[in-house]
Amino acid sequence: MESRLLHVNLSTGELRIEQLSHAIFERWIGGSGINNWIMWEHFLKHDVNCDPRSPDNIFVFGVGPLAGTGSGSGIKGRITFKSPCYGIFGDSAAGGKFPYMVRFAGFDHIAVTGKAPRPVYLYLCDGQAEIRDASHLWGKNTAETHAALNAELGDYPSHVHTLTISQAGENQVGIAAVVSDASRIHARGGGGCVMGSKNLKAIAVQGSGGVRVANPKGMLEWSRGFRASIDKNEAIYGFKRRGTLGAVEMYQHIGSHFWRNNQGNMFRGDEIRSDNWVKKYHKYSEVCSADCFIACDGRYKIDGTESEKAKKYVGETFRRPEYLTTGSAAGALDIRDWAEVAHWGKITNDYGIDNQDLSCSISFVMELHQHGLLSERDIAELFDRPQSLEWGNMEDIEALIEDIVFRRNLFGELFNDGPYWGALRYSQRTGRNFMKYSIYGKGGASFTEEMRPFPTWMNNMAVASRGADHLKGIGLIEKFQRRDLSKRYFGRLEAADLSTPVLKGACTAVVENQVALLNSYGVCLFHWMLDPAGYAPEEYYGRAFAEVTGIDRSPEELMRDGERICNLEKAFNSRLGLRREHDTICERWMFEPTTEGMYPGKVAADMFDTVLDEYYEWRGWDKASGLQTASRLESLGLGDVAEVLAADGALVRA
């Protein structure tokens, strides 16, 4: 396996290419696994407790070994950094064409350190790298920046593909995102803030190279088989037209939405259904990523006939909203018109900001207002203007978005790191405790779905390395009640039974290991979730990994690889002082019962500690402190990591 890592020191202007050894793939697989290792090594030489907005932080981009191979699945790029909004491990994935173009330009990973003295962008083309002036791009949003770079660089030797930040990143807003090709967002954790803190406006790539594959014939056979399994899966045809919007009705039936800051769990009104989207807005689908066989993406163009409110957005065109775009808009903020939901998706993308953190921050202040907890004086102090805080009012919401993007008033300043820190800072400032209205896990904003009926998901929110998150250990065995998979992995059925805490901690750990593998291969989680080829990533996608890299592992060995990757993320957070008490969730989830849908009366507290204990047991970590143990790390070949943790007082000798 050949692989190249580009080191970029923006303080000195030094560019250095490192050939990554085959051994690194043996240990870390690729993608997120190698990104994590690059960051870990960086912070052996730099202060891990540094301000994430300082030059000492690192910004890593990486692709998995399947990217650009024609596998039909290896489409995700990943950014990794110390999170400025949560202060812990941070990473985020996005698909599109940028990831494979990085490989065609001759690189697999990019590690950016230091801080440029002025705004710059990084340009990669056919094995060469340059740091270029970006003064003319500063102040532009992500769409404008992408367009300007395309105009500047032309179409030779290939189309230009970009990673960009907007004004939010420039202003070092903690929840600022990084946007790929002006449409695909690395949303979580504040990667855009890290780029902004380094004066790095963009990365632009062009390439005409290819990707070496260890066994081209085997890879082609795998790819054909994968294609055939997708083509005969009827469920995928509906997914192509709706994308993740297909979840809207399912969640409405279950009661799994996140309505008005999760005060409820069902949407109101009749408009926000995927059928209505398909009827009114679905214009055409496109291949969402160059190397994706499913192609769930679509575009809309508003002509003004769709609804009264749509008239305001005539001519607007962008990607179809994803489920969580809809969950944040129609759920958290109670927007009830599709045109406005779509517009919310577009402006949060153009402003390059995480719409989960953003919606949870805005819905927090809206709920305070709903309960009469904000006086006129409080509102004047927060916003420097009269401000209505009406649920679902798009004009209000747009103003609040810009408050945060431009950090232009107290609200924008307090909430630039998301709803947890915003609520805490506002509580401290006013001497009133508002934390019960903040929805978070491990200090991170919730993703806008109802979690309380699902103990594995609830545990994900507490233990995910990057803060409240479903994509580190997406608990499908439990949520979809897959008895077959529970039996397969645990020899028993309880992992698929929502009524018991038994096997929920174990299920969290096993699925985290699997997702770590998928993220390191670079496989889209929707490929796995739609299950065209069998659930087990350690088996099916493990074959593709073997054909590409020549590293032929048993499923058991690959599961250990996934566990090793998870343990490195955990170790990073342990170095920062995180312990069991940080693996926690917000008061609403813990104690306030659900009231709607198929699962009313659910609170997390009923099972939370039991599930967390079992999770630590399954992981081989110390239950009292939440810390890793020397014996488990050594058994995973992570003795070097254990030594670092021991020196930091963050290891249990057992």
């Binding site: 009827e234 469920a235 997914f239 709706r242 399912m250 039936h253 997406i474 979809f480 065209p532």
Partner: protein, 93 residues
């Protein structure tokens, strides 16, 4: 004889062209409901609802819940008045 209701979402609704319908079943079992659906809607429903050998409900990207939020399997019993939700199973996004 019992009456059960079928509620369709996404690809299921595209195939059936209705959102909801009712069936009277001789045997109160999911297997009879599945047979009625594949008989009524043909090969596309067969491919969506059943696995390749036709012996079990398809689990790949699909989710079937009863009114109590329990996933149903082919061998499971049904109660009079139950609604079974036929959905494409995805999460997040």
């Amino acid at each position: 004889m019992i009456t059960v209701h079928a509620q369709y979402q996404s690809r299921f609704r595209e195939i059936t062209s209705v959102e909801r319908e009712s069936f009277e079943l001789e045997q109160p079992l999911v297997v009879e409901l599945a047979a009625r659906l594949t008989g009524k809607y043909g090969p596309q429903m067969q491919a969506l609802l059943m696995d390749e050998d036709g012996q079990n409900l398809n689990t790949r990207g699909t989710l079937y819940l009863n009114s109590r939020g329990e996933r149903v399997y082919l061998e499971d019993p049904l109660q009079d008045g139950d609604t079974i939700y036929f959905m494409v199973g995805i999460a997040g996004g």
